[in-house]
Amino acid sequence: MVTTPLSANSHGDHASHELPFGTLVGVLILLMVLMGLTIGASYITLPSIGPIPGIVINNLVAVGIATVKAALVIWFFMGVKFASALARIWVIAGFLVLFLMFGILGDYGTRKFEQVNGWETNVPHNGGETALPRVWPPEGKPSSTPEVEQGFRPR
């Protein structure tokens, strides 16, 4: 029988891929534990490390744990452990391009270096009346997040 090129990366008989039941249970328990960990971590406020503020670390921890959980599911439940190299390439490619897309955030990260001042402050005659017809800043509690101060929107 002529071997087609695919058999290079095809894995013969798939029936040999079943995980031991114990492993599955173990993964499930691990996932539960990690979930508890996330909930717990979200209530304690972590200290800042050097320049990185604590809130960022909190978020990193949360996302990190979620990523570990995701990895567990992908590796064991979804059987990437056994999948063909091709399937793995696709898994990686997907997350890689997703990562590229987050480059969009770079725009917002670097924009604050060339922020544009509004005109309320430096138009003498209209006493700081905003040029915007809409009520601005909008009603409700004025936000106190640092990013806002850095000119994501006119203040």
């Binding site: 391009v97 897309m101 969009i104 924009r111």
Partner: protein, 574 residues
């Protein structure tokens, strides 16, 4: 290639094996699905062209001719939406890719025939939604649908049309999945990656871009729909949302989408150049890898559509840099195609004329891209007719020309009929000239500063002369698009039957009868020889021999050197 029993042996082919409309609408055969696609994209292209004609007519006078501004805005938006989403993105992959990718790699069908059929139905559903939106009330906002105009201010059928585009997105995703799996898993024995025709490489790269890009625009447009339908305030500046974020997400797909439109065209051109120059493509590996490079880098340049959209200057610089990097692979292709012609045996048949025209037009289109990739000039030229001209040089001069070239090249294989070659050649020249007359003046008028999507330009009447030239050219272009419809459909009725390989071309699709049998191959071929396996010298001698014979038949009695070579060849030759 070893394999096929004598071609033309089989009388039944994919067209006549099963009869009845039902057998077409429920078919899983990639060839029949390709034909369904061919009919539908032609229909949509016709609609888009009508809109284009209206635009051109309206622009002959600075203060418009017949239309109200609202109507005009809806017309140009319809032109953009129809041409981009229902023609350019779909046409080449879904028609020629669908038809020939499995044949070229020696497979009986796509990996997932039913998915393939589903993609056509999705396409039609989306297309019908779009048309519905345009018929009852129309849509404006241009094909880019920038927020907040599209999400908060437009009072046209944006919701309906965007839903249609969303659905069409899934149609191309399913096609992409099919291409990827098929190329990876269905190659015939011996069909190694570097024996793949460049057409297949191009479609593989395209599929990758489709898979990774389309979902992003799908969700983005869906969010606009939600904002209109359920007041979901994602891009609403009044609530602190950011309309520029929409542009980021939109172009993250829509720049790669440009490569979805042009890469398959590259594939077709590589086929045409190689087969009509009777010579292996120069730098096969470089073209193949440049295709992948374009697909990869294409995901990193979306920001060059946004240099002046209040995007951060620093990120803009990065995008500009990468944009210049992505220009290089395109240059590589053009030079390689040109080099292929060196020491070749060039047949100037109609598909080749389109291919040569493509090289010229794409060169101009690509180089004018540098004007827009370099930030300094982009500030002045972006959002003017310069962009319109650049885009049309790449998309009409590139993709559309390649589509026509491919159509002429594979028509005998798809239908089993030969068309009027003379008319086809003339048409290729009409298209080339008409195109340049249409779009070159737009470079100038854009450089003068005429913004795109303008209905009236009475504030700057000096633009009129170029607009009139452009409209004249569009007339010729229109003829160039109608003529093929005429002589191709005529060939269906009374065209001569086509042999299995009317062009003397090289490739698996030419080793099976035309039109091919339903299962493509009676037996899966085993590929032994390289791709585009021509030898210029023997090709040359055969040409001379053939000429000599023709010559001898014209002037019987007269003997000259030609006939000697001819007789020699006829003894020892074939």
């Amino acid at each position: 290639m070893i394999s096929q029993p004598a071609p033309a042996a089989s009388e039944t082919n994919y067209i006549n094996e099963f009869g009845g409309l039902k057998s077409w609408l429920l078919t899983g055969d990639h060839k029949r699905i390709a034909i369904l696609y061919l009919i539908s994209v032609t229909f949509f292209f016709f609609l888009g062209s009508v809109a284009a004609a209206m635009i051109r007519w309206e622009l002959t006078a600075p203060a418009g001719v017949v239309l109200e501004s609202d109507t005009y805005n809806k017309v140009f938006s319809s032109h953009g939406v129809i041409m981009v989403f229902t023609f350019l993105v779909v046409a080449i992959p879904s028609v020629f890719g669908n038809f020939f990718l499995p044949i070229m790699i020696g497979a009986r069908d796509m990996a997932f025939p039913r998915l393939n059929l589903l993609s056509w139905y999705l396409y039609m559903a989306g297309g019908i939604l779009i048309l519905a939106g345009m018929i009852n009330g129309g849509v404006d906002g241009g094909w880019t649908f920038y927020t907040p105009y599209s999400s908060m201010y437009s009072n046209s059928n944006v919701t309906l049309v965007l839903t249609g585009v969303f659905i069409i997105g899934f149609s191309s995703i399913t096609t992409g999945i099919n291409f990827i799996v098929t190329t990876h898993k269905m190659r015939a024995p011996g069909m190694t990656w570097f024996r793949l025709p460049l057409f297949v490489w191009a479609h593989y790269a395209t599929a990758v871009v489709i898979i990774l890009g389309t979902p992003v625009v799908a969700i983005t447009l869906l969010l606009v729909v939600f904002e209109r339908a359920f007041k979901l305030p994602i891009f609403n500046p009044e609530l602190g949302g950011d309309p520029v974020l929409f542009q980021h997400l939109f172009w993250f797909y829509s720049h790669p989408a440009v490569y979805i439109m042009i890469l398959p065209a590259f594939g077709i051109i590589s086929e045409l150049i190689a087969n009509f120059a009777r010579k292996r493509v120069f730098g096969y590996h470089f073209i193949a890898f440049s295709t992948l490079a374009i697909a990869g880098l294409g995901f990193l340049v979306w920001g060059h559509h946004m240099f002046i959209s209040s995007q951060s200057m620093y990120q803009g610089i990065v995008f500009s840099l990468i944009s210049f990097l992505v220009a290089v692979p395109s240059a590589i292709k053009v030079f390689n195609w040109t080099a292929t012609l060196y020491k070749a045996n060039i047949r100037l048949q109609s598909p080749m004329l389109y291919a040569l025209g493509f090289i010229g037009l794409f060169t101009v289109g690509g180089l004018t891209g540098l004007f827009l990739g370099s930030m300094g000039t982009d500030v002045h030229l972006t959002a003017t007719y310069f962009v319109v001209a650049h885009f049309h040089y790449v998309m009409v001069g590139g993709t559309m020309t390649a589509f026509l070239g491919g159509l002429h090249y594979w028509w005998p294989k798809m239908t089993g009929r030969l068309y009027a070659e003379g008319l086809a050649k003339a048409n290729a020249i009409i298209v080339f000239l008409g195109f340049n007359l249409t779009f070159f003046p737009q470079f100038i008028v854009g450089w003068l500063g005429m913004p795109r999507r303008y209905h009236y330009y009475y504030l700057a009447p000096e633009y009129q002369v170029y607009n009139i030239m452009s409209t004249l050219g569009s007339g010729f272009l229109g003829i160039g698009f109608l003529l093929p419809a005429f002589y191709l459909s005529k060939s269906l009725m009374n065209g001569r039957k086509a042999s299995a390989n009317p062009w003397g071309a090289h490739g698996l699709e030419w080793e099976i009868p035309s039109p091919p049998p339903s299962t493509n191959f009676l037996q899966i071929p085993i590929v032994l020889d390289e791709v585009y396996d021509f030898d210029p010298v023997t090709e040359y001698e055969q040409d001379r021999a053939q000429q000599a014979i023709e010559h001898a038949h014209e002037h019987p009695g007269m003997m000259d050197s030609h006939d000697e070579t001819a007789s020699k060849l006829e003894e020892g030759g074939h």
